[in-house]
Symmetry: D2
Subunit: 439 residues, 4 copies
């Protein structure tokens, strides 16, 4: 069969001095860093949707890409064509994982039965492709936001039939994910939010979403799916406001419905910044709340207020994010999925490789630097020293609950406490980090 990326062969590691744009300069899959290979650390995935389901169209313009499998034709034939190209790409890129939505891989059809049949048939195709190529499934998910039926949400839709339709897709997508050996199952509530408070019952919608997630958990246990369940926070877009706004909001939601031990978060860099947080903040917050799961690796534009989904390229930012993840023990089931898309002008067929090669190299650059930050852990030491007082008698007494407001106030008055400010040493620590990043 003819190959789509006919000018590209398997991407190899050629080292920092290579001038071959179709080679890795820093990502060396088997290179060991802190006792694990880069591949084991990074667990990278390419996605189906941006790469193979998008034709370059945006709100202001028509398709720009040449994607023959997206043109008119028999839907199942085109879906198989798409799978051929996708696995050709994954293999040549040597990326170990991929991710998909149900309707990325199979035609929706015109009825629930067609959906089920199409999807089942394509899952068989994917299973075979995985076996042939060794590419694995990082996570699967269901698209509950594109079809017009979901215009007002899926789990939070005012119509319980829409809720039920969404449930049906998730049922099949979870089963498919298990069948394909997926290591996680993801929920992104694309339209689980509101357009206008004038027509919205927040309490009702939240209750619906809570029940929906409980059902997902129950099903996971019922079928014995061993992967993690992940929620992907996003503050808005396409909705005016989405319920899974950010990690801290998701945490509160999980607590309300008793789900905090069942779900973790899949943090997307661009969603973090749309929520008014740094990517670093979202990762550190999720870790501190015990709900960190996986990463959608991309970046936004600091001046644009929508999800630009660009390939990650700030090694400065990635290094600190990776430092947090390494300190927390690294991924268990998670990984870095490139939820990133080409610029609409990037119409060369090979641009898809350039985007991913860059992304993978940038993560590798960051991993090497994060490992150095972990090895000589001056940040960890500075933090430990800064909070040392909380390991002392007073700190322990407070934390253990020995003190009331009254007893502590009495102590302060009796002992005439007059604590002195101590420098936070922020400038110094920033300098030290840069000396590692830019040796």
């Amino acid at each position: 069969m003819a190959q789509y990326f006919d000018q590209v062969s398997k991407i190899a590691f050629e080292g920092a001095d290579s001038s071959n744009p179709l080679a890795f300069k820093h990502y060396n899959a088997q290179e060991k860093i802190l006792g694990k290979t880069m591949a084991e650390h990074l667990r990278m995935a390419a996605c189906y949707w941006h790469n193979f389901c998008w034709n370059g169209q945006d709100v202001f313009g028509q398709p720009t890409f040449n994607r023959p499998w997206l043109e008119a034709g028999d839907a199942m034939t085109q879906a198989k064509h798409k799978a051929d190209v996708a696995f050709e790409f994954f293999s040549k890129l040597t990326i170990p994982y991929y991710c998909f939505h149900d309707i990325d891989v199979a035609p929706e059809g015109n009825s629930i039965k067609e959906y089920i049949n199409n999807f089942a048939a394509m899952v068989d195709v994917l299973e075979q492709k995985q076996a042939e190529t060794g590419v694995k499934l990082l996570w699967g998910t269901a698209n509950l936001f594109s079809n017009p039926r979901y215009a007002a949400g899926a789990a939070t839709n005012p119509d319980p039939e829409v809720f039920s339709y969404g449930v049906t897709q998730v049922f099949h997508a979870m089963n498919a994910t298990k069948k394909l050996g997926g290591e996680n199952y993801v929920l992104w509530g694309g339209r689980e939010g509101y357009e206008s408070l004038l027509n919205t019952d927040l309490r009702q919608e939240r209750a619906q979403l809570g029940r929906f997630m409980q059902m997902v958990v129950e099903h996971k246990h019922k079928i014995g799916f061993k992967g993690a369940l992940l929620i992907e926070p996003k503050p808005q877009e396409p909705t005016k406001h989405q319920y899974d706004y950010d990690s801290a909001t998701v945490y509160g939601f999980l607590k309300q419905f008793g789900l905090e031990n069942e779900f973790r978060v899949n943090i997307e860099a661009n969603h973090a910044t749309l929520a008014g947080h740094s990517f670093h903040h979202e990762v550190a917050t999720a870790i501190s709340l015990g709900i960190f799961g996986s990463i959608d690796a991309n970046r936004g534009d600091a001046q644009n207020g929508w999800d630009t989904d660009q390939f990650p390229n700030s090694v400065e930012e990635l290094s600190l994010v990776m430092y947090e993840i390494l300190k927390a023990g690294g991924f268990s089931t998670g990984g870095y999925n490139f939820d990133a898309k080409l610029r609409r002008q990037s119409v060369d067929r090979n641009d898809l490789f350039h985007g991913h090669i860059g992304g993978m190299d940038h993560l590798a650059m960051a991993l090497k630097r994060a490992a150095m930050l972990v090895e000589k852990d001056f940040l960890g030491e500075a933090v430990a020293k800064r909070y040392a007082g909380w390991s002392n008698k007073l700190g322990q007494a407070i934390q253990s609950g020995e003190h009331s407001l009254q007893s502590l106030a009495a102590l302060v008055e009796r002992e005439q406490f007059s604590p002195k400010p101590v420098s936070g040493r922020q400038e110094l620590l920033e300098n030290q980090v840069n000396l590692v990043l830019f040796r």
Copy 2:
């Protein structure tokens, strides 16, 4: 004794046709709306800090206001002078409530003992002032963010002695609030956040803050304070990031520490918008989570990224906020506190009256419109109709937990569900609202 506002007498209601800038045109305290007086609905308060502790200084400029009680002099004498002016103002304004921080009303002194003594003396002064004027205390609080000792936070400080110092202030401020008949006690964590993740232990700081709040709850019950405990969310400023980011974040925090039945939120309009939400959103969200408490009435500037704390003047926005509050049953212990300050150029002595008269009139205008929205509740009807499906058999079965993913998927497949999108009617509802706001 000489009065400071010597050109102003008690502000009276003169009706919409009055051209007297020092009169109410819409706020008529005893006018009944939906069975309660305006005063009972609005429970408005003026604040001590912006009005009597600020001299017009900003980051780029020197003081502009003439505030003799803020000039050099004996600290306690000046504090009493300040109290004289404050209660002269409250009385002439005919506002029923006020609010304060401990160090707004009493000098901090140079030691914990001086703090305690000064504050106790000034609480006696305030008690007498309240008795003389009939002005009541909506809420008290402690300032744990201005003194250099709190530069790295109070409850979340790396130094447990600072934590303890903060506890001491809260202990005295809660006791004072109870003594003065305060109807709420507020916590705003001005520096409970971080400047840099490089030197911060998020999990440790969160645990400290959780314990701090538990101690506050325990103390409330111990002293039999009947008012509500309130947390005021703010996303940032002066910190880079504050833990009490917004209502949803506070909810998660409360759940983590088992405090969700003990605290409510005091929502500030300008804090809502800094967090990337509408004021309306924050109020509706807090109500839906069962943690709505009180309002800091002000507004931000949609183009400026800091807390401008301007007097509220969007009747459009206030009407919808008030509609939500009326539908939720109105305030219990809460009210509208004007956490608003003059523009730095507003150097006329009477500008303080203009700001508050406007704020009070704008709330009154909004109350009258919100009452109309409640009376012919087309919004409530539209929402009820939109979600009607959830009262039917399918909706009830889902919500009651009868269905699993599998059973529901089977039902959808068997019954061939094919739900049709329904208009959200947003444009129509927006038109209908405006027909009420701008009759």
Copy 3:
């Protein structure tokens, strides 16, 4: 011929007490305000693109609207069907004007010749429709951003052939606008900006855009088009950054190329806010620079960072905008074009009427209030009084150029100037405005 909006007849003014959603409550075309009819003041237009070329698709979802003329079929037949529906809508709405892009009304075809022929044929259709209905053309424009050839801009494209193709469209669109009696011709540089500075020559692109605009001016004069040329500022989206960022930026551009007397700006509310300005600011700035032309009436969402293009519904904001325009003498060739689109959920056929009826009523509400602000012009008086010093001797001497730094410094020293701050009276003025808006 069957009508699309078969349940709607001509929209009539029924007054504020009407409960008919398909009637005007405030817009009474022939009602006189300050000596002119509402219709003469407002000069409102409906647009072709959002209303008749958009099917409800967004970046995350499929079409939701039922628009038969957008489905597969013979392109010219469908274009005529579209025109039938559009003019049915304009007529029933009783809106006096419409606006279009060339490819809104005619199929692009597969070559420049097809484009020219299709467009010419459809211009004849439009001419006949206008004659039949009395609907007039407020402005025409050419779409130089949707076709893939324009992915890197039109006038600013790195390829002069693309520039030339764009020129060809503008040539035909200007001629068509003249033929159809259009009162303005608009340029919006949808992709005249950059995606990345790494591949962009700012100086070159700016020079291209300057020449392009000069050619437009030359052509206008050559063909004797009497309408105004308008530029529509927008800061970004779809580009990362657009050259016509805001009114002040456009002014600088016009000055650079000697065009400041040839172009005015068409200000869109949502573009103003995306640029970090209030709508009010952009209008007032354009007026102060002498380049105010027309309005794209819509609104953005204060929390969403993209162009939501909602129908305008803040009477508060519109009243102040309209006050500025009235004070500046009102529109000459400009008007209020509803560059607004339905929410994707608004799938009822009549929602298109609700959006526009609301928009038209809200402008009428604002017009009535703005007229009151003009009649008792306390704002104008306050401003005049505030700057009165500049009419006095010193102010005149400075403005007339009599003084140098040195002579003025000498005067200040000799006369010992010690100017005293004066209140800006902002709170008072805000109160006074609201007393008019919410009588």
Copy 4:
């Protein structure tokens, strides 16, 4: 005399392997890069205001720093003390330049005469300090925004006496800058903007500001000042909106008043981002408009909406900015002034060194990388290739004005132009840049 920084001696270059926090690791003043020394390239300056006039106070808190010269005392004695410390710091830091506002260095006094006398006396002190230490003046300026008289602006004040007072300060500050060998004179219009459009005459204020700047130019020529005149754009803060919003806005302003050959811009990184632009954008835009002058080196916080004025530490960003400047020929009179301040928690005396050492090292790191980008100028080549068509026959004909809309449209039709999109290669270029930044 006792030294304030008594634990610090002259900062030396010790190379990348040094672990001495009080040494340069990358900034090696005499190291040659592209034929010039680092010192000649970077022309770095420390500022007087943040370093020596700020005590750690912010809007929410009291002073945190120990700055004895800012405490009560004889004003001139304290000003001399301040100068001693400042020059001790500049010398030990080995930074070649400094910058000041008039009232940073001399007490304002209580009258214009006191101001003049104090300032003249302190200029003599500075002159002697410069001679003793070899530290030079990069630029001087006048503070026309802190004193209450400037609450409503200086040049744009409604009161011409305030305008005149500002003129007087500028007159003396320009003369002082010349006397001290300053290489530039800067204008930052801290309050040249508005708080509310309700009380503002935009056209009048703009005319005042234009005349003011013309007077500055006339004075420059009169006194034979050879340095450059610089305007520092900022969009807002402390104002709601400032007239010198960004570089493009300033350009338009200069064109309006015929000043575009007399002023250049001093671009501050944090002001760029507050205006909704990247720092890179502002520099590239100013260069493309021919008005680039100098840099205020700092950074903002991407999540905070105010001027955080942190020390620059993104080498990624600085490298691209520096690439633009190198390509444009480097600075003439400009340089990198650290308009940066410590975090309020940075209370160690040496933190001032850590901030500057980091800033200087980060600029040096960036300079080395920018030089590599210039040496193998793949970006320049990619851009040249991308726009090559504009050097060909068609491109030249268009640019030279040979074509009208009509002639070009005829050509397109005749030749059947059908230009094909070309990849912008953004991902590839981004990868290539990172391979240089993170070798």
